[in-house]
Amino acid sequence: MNPGKASGPAVRIENLDKHYGTFHALRKVNLSVGRGERIVVCGPSGSGKSTVIRCINRLEQHDGGRITVLGTELNDDVANIDGIRREVGMVFQHFNLFPHMTVLENCMIAPMIVRKLPRTEAETTARRYLEKVRIPEQAMKFPGQLSGGQQQRVAIARALCMQPQIMLFDEPTSALDPEMISEVLDVMVTLASDGMTMICVTHEMGFARRVADRVVFMDGGEIVEEAPPEEFFTSCRNDRTRQFLSQILGH
């Protein structure tokens, strides 16, 4: 029980099954993500992208198959769940910043109460990551006083402050106005170049081209296609993939 020390892939998903009541949301999903690898997941709405990455840190409970994160199996063992959540950061579509805390407190709270870091240390870490996402000057403001792009960058900093080994992004730019998208993507690109393991659900195909090692296309709860970006965009085999690509790149 010490996620991170073991060797092997960062995340391995085998035959993952997930039901919402009678609705079969994921069907036998297989995916392996190496350390330092950047994966972009795309697909039409309702195809199960969010469900897959939410299963990785147990925001959703899977009901079939195996998920292994950093060598630890994600099962009913509470210690495993806690350990994995500590090593996996997540960024949400709607930021989910804590509105009753300042930006700095948002970044400090988890390291302090989960990792039991002393306050001063937590603060230096927080300020360093706020610098990294290029908003050190907003530290004392409340989330409600920031723009969407700034909030999302705070959310990224907040996740990074836990110093996770894996970052999950669930459509981090789709709630943003167009002019704010690039400031968030820039931060993500920097993060990728630092060697972070990333799994991003996004429809930003430019981002996928630039940083992804692999692009995964999902439809109907299944992984339909999985390929490096240049291959994915130029010579995809599947009809559904082609149709989807023509829709989002088409105009």
Partner: protein, 387 residues
């Protein structure tokens, strides 16, 4: 073992079993101890006592009651008293609340100020204090010999005496039903008739219906009249006491007045909220159609406001029903006071508490059911109106 405790599913199951088990054990232990304690006092548990006669009397009852009647009959009397006081109280409270609430929403500043002062004063004084106050006022009225008299009614420290018709009980009840019909029929007719019907014609039909119902009431009263007695029985002084007429005891009046005044201040706020929720746009639209202000009020503003008010009003009515338990403070034999007296006299504590809970559950549930029905009946149908 340790790893088993770390398992989420095991933990969840364990927590549930512990929680429910602990609560059940607590209740069970209470019952066991209580039964033992009661047995030591020679009280056998069970519901047999319901058929024994009480040996004490109630001071207010709509049904015949003597000290020889069994406990179950007294519980019934208590429930009926509670419902009766509650119904009278909430009708009066609604009346007061509507008047004050309308004053609070009126366009006249002085009327608004008056309404607001009323609400601010009476909402902020506890109900029980108001009950005590009115009870003191009534019991400090002059004795029957020096009674205040007006329109054949007598106001005394022993209660309010009003004249009643000398008719049989069944005929009297039937006549009351007919009078209720006289009020309900026109309302119902107004709801079912079409807007396209000319206003005058509608009014005619409504008036005719009301008149018919009232005439029926009069006929019933005339037929059910007791022989050889004047139609109305007036209270009159005989010796040191008043004879004749109907006596409304001070306990009842004090509670009804207090509930009306206190409840009225809450209902006024609900009425105000309801009218405030009706959009200006709908009223302006109606006015621009050329409807008269009165018809805009009755056809647009009132129905919409009523729909907004009803759910909150339902809660308030449930609250007022429960407030009748203050009867015990002045000695009105409502359901709760009967329960308290029963525990005192029979010692059947557990059973009686069970009956108390069941009784209030039944009252709550039936009120909720009635209001759900009304709510459904008047709810706006899907596309009827979009907020």
């Amino acid at each position: 073992m340790v790893s088993l405790l770390r398992n989420q599913k095991v933990r969840n199951a364990l927590l549930q079993v512990l929680y429910v088990g602990a609560l059940a054990a607590l209740v069970l232990a209470g019952v066991v101890i209580a039964r033992r304690n009661l047995a030591e006092q020679g009280i056998t548990s069970g519901f047999d006592f319901l058929y024994k006669s009480t040996g004490w009397d109630v001071n207010f009852s709509l049904l015949p009651a003597t000290a020889n009647d069994p406990y179950w009959w007294f519980f019934l009397i208590g429930i009926i008293n509670t419902l009766f006081l509650g119904t009278v109280g909430l009708m009066l409270a609604t009346l007061v609340g509507t008047i004050v609430g309308l004053a609070r929403t009126s366009s006249n500043e002085l009327a608004r100020l008056l309404g607001r002062t009323y609400v601010d004063i009476f909402r902020n004084i506890p109900l029980i204090l108001q009950v005590f106050f009115w009870y003191a006022v009534i019991t400090h009225l002059p004795t029957p010999r020096a009674a205040h008299e007006a329109w054949g009614m007598m106001l005394t420290s022993r209660g309010l005496y009003v004249p009643i018709p000398n008719v049989g009980a069944i005929a009297f009840a039937a006549a009351i039903l007919a009078v209720i019909a006289a009020i309900a029929l026109p309302v119902w007719l107004g709801r079912t008739s079409r807007l396209s019907q000319p206003f005058g014609e509608r009014l005619g039909i409504q008036l005719a219906a009301a008149a018919t119902a009232l005439a029926t009431a009069a006929v019933i009263l005339a037929l059910g009249r007791l022989p050889d007695l004047p139609l109305l029985d007036f209270p009159a002084l005989q010796g040191l006491n008043l004879k004749g007429g109907l006596r409304i005891p001070p306990e009842f009046s004090a509670l009804a007045i207090a509930i009306a005044i206190y409840g009225g201040s809450y209902i006024a706020e609900i009425v105000r909220g309801g009218f405030k929720s009706v959009g200006k746009g709908q009223m302006e639209a109606a006015l621009s159609l050329g409807l008269s202000p009165w018809r805009v009020f009755t056809l647009v503003r009132l129905p919409l406001a009523l729909r907004a008010m009803l759910p909150i009003l339902a809660n308030q009515y449930v609250w007022l029903m429960k407030a009748t338990t203050m009867g015990i403070a002045v000695g009105f034999t409502d359901f709760f006071m009967i329960v308290a007296l029963t525990i005192n006299h029979s010692g059947q504590t557990l059973e009686t508490i069970g009956i108390l809970m069941a009784g209030f559950l039944a009252i709550n549930l039936s009120l909720a059911a009635i209001f759900n029905r009304i709510n459904k009946a008047i709810a706006l149908k899907g596309n009827q109106l979009r907020a």
